[in-house]
Amino acid sequence: MAALAGDTGGADLRVDIGSLMLANPVLTASGTFGYAREFENLINLHRLGGIIVKGISLHPRQGNPPPRIAETACGMLNAIGLQNVGVERFVSEKIPYLRGLNVPVIVNILGDSVEQYGQIAANLAGVEGISALEVNISCPNVAHGGVSFGADTKMAAAVTRAVKAAADVPVMVKLSPNVTDIAAIAVAVQEAGADSISLINTLIGMAIDVDRKKPVLANMFGGLSGPAIKPVALRMVYQVARAVTIPVIGIGGISTTEDALEFMLAGAAAVQVGTANFVNPRGAEQIVDGLGEYVTREKLTSIRDIIGALEC
């Protein structure tokens, strides 16, 4: 079936992430979809539920030295080092194109300190064409010896509060999976005012080049993503969806319609497609098609019927 623009075969795929309304639950994950323009020849961008852009910091970042990528079993490690053009150039160079797409754009933000997070949110406030912020709390807190903001309920809450205080759009907080108790972090950011929660970011991993006796990545450690992490992601999404009342967005190894359905059954109101975009750029759009077919085939009133519908 050659889907028309915006067409989901008549099926109701709309989902609400709090006050953020999406035409369908398929978003593209930060850092895996560039600034969307890279995909314009390959996919109908306006058929996506939304686009999450590469993480933006207050100042431009050069990123890590290469190699930045290592393939692993059913996954990959990345140590991009959050390379980005900085909030100023993002607004002047990237937003105009994104605004023209007529698709919700969610800006992923990151910082070295609580203040920086607040500052970026402030800089983005009032910028037209931004539907929400996604707060990447997996970054190292420079003031606390580089421990990730996402590793601790207090720091996670502090970042959330700082962003909420400055933002004029809904705030989605993106959790790090490298923690003992993900539900506790989720509850903390909900209490700090988050409008929704997305998870998971990458698992910290490493690969070694035996011949050179060196880490494959120049940065030594990298973030593990792809199908390999799906079982961990699904478990955490289930745990978080049970622990909070705000909407949860599932991420981790999603590459097929069935993967997306698993996350939604576990409680996700929407999903993000990440690494799969590299392997099959059409994948996210195919999932939109697939969800439409699922709703029709299963005679559902809406895709919303399956959110959290897991029978245990």
Partner: protein, 262 residues
């Protein structure tokens, strides 16, 4: 620059030496848009292991929809490609990246080392088609040994460029490195050099061109996840201490725009 994700069906599999193969595919959209020096990503498997696509230079592309790659079996992905059979389908993405900038009125020297000779065939063809003085153009094919060079000589010979072969062990053509021929047979200073090959060869080539003043375009490699500017994984250091991305800023660069470790 339009790109396509296309299912290509294999029409021919040639084993050119123990480690090298050439695959011919029907891929009309990609072949129709391709320029010399561009590359494609090939997903070696529909399954998740190996996961990522592999980048390959476009060895040959025809208006009639034929696309070729020439490659070395070095790991899992290339081993899978080496077991492909006629009529198998491959998932391709391309054409990707910025290819060689053909400089119309200047003589050209194409210089390839090892698998680096892959993209030069397409370049040689475009050069000869462009109505250039092909006879003034030169192509140097270098390799470690006979098997690296000989199987492709006939293909390169058809375009009427003056053809020089050189191998490290002297088993085919002269004995030495491809770049040696630039020293022994110096080029006119207006000759544009188009290079492709392993990093040390390109670094040497750059060194020679800096001295001689010849413009030099080189195709470089890097680890890639997406091949299309989305992952920011394929960085190399630019001359101005800013990273560039091989998949979108390259793979062909003016050699002076990169930092070289000699």
């Amino acid at each position: 620059m339009t790109q396509y994700q296309e299912k290509a069906s294999i029409t021919r599999v040639e084993r050119l030496s123990t480690q090298t193969l050439r695959l011919t595919m029907r891929s009309p959209l990609i072949a129709g848009a391709a320029r010399p020096g561009q590359f494609i990503m090939i997903r070696p498997s529909e399954r998740h292991d190996p996961l990522l696509g592999r980048p390959f230079s476009i060895h040959q592309a025809t208006g009639s929809g034929t696309l070729q790659i020439y490659f070395n079996v070095v790991g899992r992905g290339t081993a899978i490609l080496a077991s492909a059979r006629v009529d198998d389908e491959l998932d391709l993405l391309g054409p990707l990246g910025r290819g060689y900038q053909l400089v119309k009125d200047a003589p050209a020297c194409l210089i390839g080392g090892g698998l680096g000779i892959a993209p030069l065939l397409f370049l040689a063809k475009e050069r000869s088609r462009g109505g250039h003085h092909a006879a003034d153009d030169r192509i140097i094919l270098g390799g470690r040994s006979r098997a690296d060079v000989e199987p492709l000589v006939e293909d390169y010979a058809q375009f009427g460029l003056s053809l020089h072969c050189i191998t490290e062990d002297g088993t085919f053509g002269e004995k030495g490195l491809a770049t040696d021929l630039l020293i022994t047979h110096p080029l006119s200073t207006d000759t544009v050099i188009y290079g492709c090959g392993p990093q040390p060869m390109l670094a040497a080539l750059h060194g020679i061109c800096v001295k001689s003043g010849n413009p030099c375009q080189v195709s470089v490699e890097s680890v890639m996840a997406c091949g299309m500017g989305a992952c920011l994984g394929c960085t190399v250091m630019g001359h101005d201490d800013n990273y560039v991305h091989v998949c979108v800023d390259g793979p062909v660069f003016d050699a002076r725009d990169l930092q070289w470790q000699l």
